[in-house]
């Protein structure tokens, strides 16, 4: 986010205008209809990624006895994290803190219950479109509340991504408590560091356009930690358990792809060229990654698989996320091809060697793809997209170092925090279902429902 530079520019422009046209009435800041319309649509798109996108993608990959449990996990997170978001989540993520030394690390409670926010207030957060407010501060062109809702969808999908790691063996009550605590104590602080105006990684200049670090690295690391701590599924024999409904996987991956246009092209918070570029590179990276995975399948394992191409597309979308506002088409192609190569090796060769059971490769795709994308952003960011930002490929090696730092700190924080929360919740209510319940399936034992019946 280029808020700092823009504020200075805007301030300069403001002083020039005031000098040249003294006492001219200041133009009241206005909500831009085009930007706002796009952000409302983009917000809906990001919701679509969770339900039904991610629910179908993950639900199709598990066995038929656990599909409803996965749907339910995603669905209840949409509900509970949205409530958490308006209660304290938004305030602690994007608000400022009255305690000085906490400012860079976590927001305060000024905006708890969205207090002090009016429906016509303009968003204090902006990327490329901004204007001067009456009090001399710079604001965006969309209502504050649509920014809050857009970010709400990010807060929702992040813990939902972790589901892929512990699917098919977690106690529903434990899962719910763990996810809420994880959002409160891991997601909200990291979002604050990277995106809030006084966040320390933001001030350091870490580039994360749409959430590569905050969303994907964060969730991916929590994924591998929970997968290891929860232990393998009873039926895990060192290889993936085949998907029960690959048509769901395809529909889910397709909806994720569509929704990702909102996720990435909405992250510019305006309907402009930057948003169009984000949409284009998102699409190109996903396409390149899908194609690469299909070719790897074809060459190495004789046939291109549908689960493979869907996974590749999602990997590409993950990796382009932090880069979407900083790279052009060449960058997108490189990121797309590389992410499939790396993630393919990870899930096909490294995971079986290490022996942990990341049920649906939440770490292998989101964690690894997120880390790769965040680092490649530091390499491939081009001044052609946003003139203020460039990566190592354009001579700015310092950016790569900052990306390393942001990713490293997120990995450590997420891993340590997840271990602590996992231990606490496991002590309180238990996180693993009994062996018998795992064998019967979580649909029946956790919800008393079954997805498919043989009869009416």
């Amino acid at each position: 986010m280029k808020k700092n530079i823009l504020s200075i520019l805007a301030l300069l422009a403001f002083s020039i205008t005031t000098l040249s046209a003294q006492n001219a009435a200041a133009i009241a800041p206005k909500i831009d209809a085009g930007d706002t319309a796009w952000m409302i649509v983009a917000t809906a798109f990001v919701l679509l990624m969770s339900i039904p996108g991610l629910a179908l993608f993950y639900g199709g990959l598990v066995r038929r006895k656990n599909v409803l449990n996965v749907f339910m996990q995603v669905f209840i997170l949409v509900a509970v994290i949205s409530v958490e978001w308006v209660v304290v989540g938004y305030s602690t993520s994007f608000g400022s803190n009255s305690i000085e030394f906490l400012k860079p690390f976590i927001g305060g409670f000024h905006w708890a219950f969205l207090n002090n926010i009016g429906i016509n207030d303009l968003s204090p957060y902006f990327i490329s479109h901004s204007q001067l407010a009456a009090d001399g501060s710079t604001v965006g062109t969309i209502p504050h509340i649509i920014f809050i809702m857009f970010q709400c969808m990010f807060a929702v999908i992040t813990p939902a991504l972790i589901i892929g790691a512990f699917a098919e063996r977690i106690n529903f009550k434990g899962f719910l408590i763990f996810s809420v605590l994880w959002s409160l104590f891991i997601y909200n602080p990291v979002a604050h560091w990277v995106w809030a105006a006084d966040g320390w990684l933001f001030k350091l200049g870490a580039l994360d356009f749409a959430g590569g670090t905050v969303v994907h690295v964060n969730a991916g690391v929590a994924a591998i930690v929970t997968a290891i701590m929860l232990g393998r599924r009873r039926d895990y024999k060192g290889h993936a358990i085949p998907a029960h409904n690959i048509t769901y996987v395809v529909i889910g991956a397709g909806l994720l792809w569509v929704g990702w246009f909102g996720f990435n092209a909405g992250s510019g918070l305006a309907a402009d060229g930057l948003a169009a570029n984000a949409l284009m590179v998102t699409h190109i990276a996903a396409a390149a990654a899908a194609l690469t995975w299909a070719l790897l399948d074809w060459i190495l394992d004789k046939r291109p698989t549908v689960v493979g191409i869907s996974t590749g597309a999602v990997g590409g979308l993950v990796a382009i996320t932090p880069a979407a506002g900083f790279v052009g088409v060449p960058g997108a192609l490189i990121i797309g091809v590389l992410v499939s190569l790396v993630c393919f090796c990870m899930v096909a060769y490294v995971k079986p060697k290490l022996g942990y059971d990341d049920s649906l490769d939440a770490f292998g795709v989101h964690g690894i793809g997120g880390i790769l994308g965040a680092l490649l952003t530091g390499v491939l960011a081009t001044p052609l997209v946003q003139s203020a930002y460039s990566g190592a490929a354009y001579g700015n090696f310092h950016q790569l170092w900052i990306q390393f730092l942001a990713v490293g700190v997120t990995i450590i924080f997420s891993a340590v925090g997840t271990i602590i929360l996992f231990k606490i919740v496991d002590k309180l209510v238990g996180l693993r279902v009994s062996d018998k319940h795992e064998a019967i399936g979580l649909d029946e034992t956790q919800h008393g429902e079954t997805a498919y019946t043989n009869f009416d």
Partner: protein
């Protein structure tokens, strides 16, 4: 009257169907089954190649008059054969009675159309 129950490879279904039709068998039922056995099937999930012990096969249920038994069994045995482990099994049962629901015709007359 006999019932022939055959477990065959899905890949041989079209051949078996044709062979039964050539042998004059006018109707039979079939469904997909999953089972465990000696043979395994190679599966690929996200680049991981492994041997799956869950075997997918098709089961056929064919009820015939005694006079047609031998040619029906031979039709299945010949057409479902590949020579590899996992070609399947064939079981023969006695049928006590048959009724045609439309006109309450019974016995082996109910098994075929005289036309």
């Amino acid at each position: 009257m006999k019932k022939i129950e055959a477990i065959i490879r899905k890949s041989k279904f079209e051949d078996v169907k044709q062979a039964l039709s050539d042998a004059g068998i006018e109707w039979f039922s079939y469904w997909d089954i999953t089972g465990l056995g000696k043979s395994t099937e190679e599966q690929v999930v996200r680049g991981q190649v492994f041997q799956s012990s869950y075997i997918h096969r098709r089961m056929l249920s064919i009820v015939v008059r005694d006079v047609n038994l031998e040619k029906t069994v031979n039709a299945v045995l010949d057409s479902a054969w590949t020579g590899e482990t996992g070609d399947g099994k064939l079981f023969i049962y006695d049928i006590e009675e048959t009724y045609r629901i439309r006109n309450r015709e019974s016995g082996s007359d109910a098994l075929f159309n005289k036309e």
